[in-house]
């Protein structure tokens, strides 16, 4: 059980989500149908008593995580005036094709993923290459909570409180050489525990690969996450280690990472390999550049009810333009989508 008293200087979730009451669709409907005044029960997204977030399923945290969690800097980065997505939705509506292509497949199938022990390889253009047990890999880093918008390329979005550390801290640790221009990430390949990798009809050439330009990776917003909603990452959300780059479409935020390489050439990423006309290397959230098959101008902020749709305009760089736009000065974002 987490009972944390934040330092006075820390932001508190209540500062950032004043409109965080999430009205249950059923309550709204029921009230409307009954012709009653809507007295829907407000459910505060933050809870200051037992847990930080409402209705979070407890997991079985690895020892290294439980040890680090108490010193987490809570609410280090937050979003203003936006409700946090309910835990159930963030954990039961996932794209993690290693476990199946339906949104519910990862939650149903990811139980087979073995996240302990876990090994991370750091190699390529680095001063300190190595092969680490995850608990050793994590030792140098101070955990912080980052509440970020997540915008999927499929035009839905969520707001998720991640726990992790900046990629820049990792880079400082492993010391990229002067040849390093890009960082490349690789997901676990294990058909035994990942049913999606056993499908003979998959268009994906496993393992899943993603990458960032080095200066993108150095941006303070880019993090490696190990937890969310005050607990360790559930398997279906990319346990035990995943990337989170909030100004890019969700598929850039690669899950269940086993290898991190510093490279001199732009890595060939998975979605780019499948359909380069639809998914570029940059994949920055951009409402003015449509996906060939659908518009990116708007998004469904989940949960989006049948009779209370939550459709909103998509923001440039997913609302992080102030922090990241300078990375792309002089770059034609229409061509480099």
């Amino acid at each position: 059980m987490l009972i944390k008293v934040p330092k006075a200087s820390d932001c508190h979730e209540s500062d950032v989500t004043p409109e965080s009451l999430y009205l249950s669709r059923r309550n709204v409907l029921g009230a409307a149908v009954a012709g009653l005044a809507v007295g829907a029960l407000p459910r505060w997204v933050f809870a200051d008593d037992a847990a930080r977030y409402a209705e979070v399923e407890p997991g079985r945290a690895p020892a290294w995580f439980s040890e680090k969690l108490p010193s987490t800097r809570w609410g280090a980065v937050a979003v203003k005036d936006e409700a946090i997505t309910p835990f159930k939705d963030a954990t039961h509506y996932n794209n993690f094709y290693e476990f199946g292509t339906d949104k519910g497949d990862p939650a149903a199938n990811a139980g087979s993923l073995k996240t302990e022990p876990w090994t991370v390889v750091v190699d390529g253009e680095v001063g300190k290459p190595g092969r680490y047990a995850l608990e050793d890999f994590m030792k140098p880093y101070q955990l912080e909570e980052r509440i970020y918008r997540l915008r999927c390329v499929e035009a839905w979005s969520m707001v998720i409180p991640w726990i992790g550390f900046p990629v820049s801290a990792l880079l400082k640790e492993v010391q990229p050489t002067s040849n390093a221009k890009f960082i490349r990430f690789e997901t676990l390949q294990d058909p035994k525990s990942m049913p999606g990798q056993r499908s003979g009809f998959a268009l994906i050439d496993w393992p899943y690969i993603e990458g960032l330009r080095l200066d993108e990776a150095m941006n303070p917003l880019a993090i490696l996450a190990v937890g969310m909603y005050g607990r360790e990452l559930p398997n279906q959300n990319g346990a035990p280690l995943r990337l989170v780059v909030p100004w890019k479409y969700g598929f850039k935020s690669i899950k269940s990472i086993v290898r991190i390489s510093l490279v001199s050439e732009q890595p060939k990423t998975t979605w780019q390999s499948i359909a380069s006309d639809e998914y570029g290397f940059y994949a920055n959230v951009n409402p003015t550049v449509d996906h060939p098959r659908w518009t990116q101008a708007r998004e469904r902020r989940l949960p989006s009810g049948l009779f209370k749709p939550n459709v909103r305009d998509t923001q440039m760089f997913n609302g992080y333009a102030d922090e990241v736009a300078s990375l792309y000065t002089g770059l034609d974002l229409r061509k480099n989508y």
Partner: protein, 206 residues
């Protein structure tokens, strides 16, 4: 009317699904994006009903039972009903009744264009599905209703262009559709064996 209970059973079996899904959406059982789930299920339902409709003639040939033909028109109309619901759900839950966006989608997205063409064909078939049209159109009616094969092609293409990373589900439907089309080729259609001759004749006696 022959086979009244069979017809009613088919009617109920086709009707129950959208009602069940609506109930699930109401009860919050479809996850955080119920609109998308409904659109997908109704689209797939349309394809399934199309395949079922197309399998009635081969089934009749195989079994000799005329009950299959008795529900063919009904199943075709259910297919149309599903596609109407699919389109309505798309307009409401995906587009949010943004008609200008609909115009953009109709001009720019091949899979939307193909889907719309398929819908218009189904509309033509549904409108002319009555006896009056059959009499009025005479020989041309049969030709017009061969459009159903075009609809199958358009529907499968529409589905294919939505697939993102795994072809398995699509491949299953495509194979079933291909088999049903191949069974229509005259040399093959003539050779469909009657598997349950005995049963059929005994049924007639009874």
């Amino acid at each position: 009317m022959r086979f009244p209970f069979w017809r009613i059973a088919v009617f109920l079996a086709a009707m129950i699904w959208p009602l069940l899904w609506l109930y699930q959406a109401w009860e919050d059982l479809l996850g955080p994006d119920p609109g998308k789930v409904l659109v997908d299920r109704l689209g797939l339902g349309t394809l399934v009903l199309l395949l079922v409709t197309l399998s009635m003639t081969p089934m009749q040939k195989l079994t000799g039972w005329t009950g299959w033909m008795a529900v063919r028109r009904q199943l075709g109309l259910w297919c149309f009903a599903y596609v109407v619901l699919h389109l309505s759900a798309y307009t409401a839950f995906i587009l949010g009744f943004d008609w200008s966006q609909l115009g953009v989608e109709l001009r720019k997205r091949p899979y939307i264009i193909v889907g719309t063409l398929g819908f218009l064909c189904l509309l033509a078939l549904a409108v002319t599905s009555n006896r009056y049209s059959q009499r009025r159109l005479g020989g041309r009616w049969k030709k017009l209703h061969r459009l159903v094969y075009v609809v199958l092609g358009l529907g499968l293409l529409h589905f294919l262009w939505i697939v993102r990373a795994d072809m398995k589900e699509w491949a299953i439907y495509a194979v079933i559709g291909a088999v049903l089309l191949v069974l229509r080729l005259p040399p093959l259609a003539r050779r469909i064996p009657r598997l349950v001759t005995k049963k059929a004749s005994s049924a007639k006696k009874a």
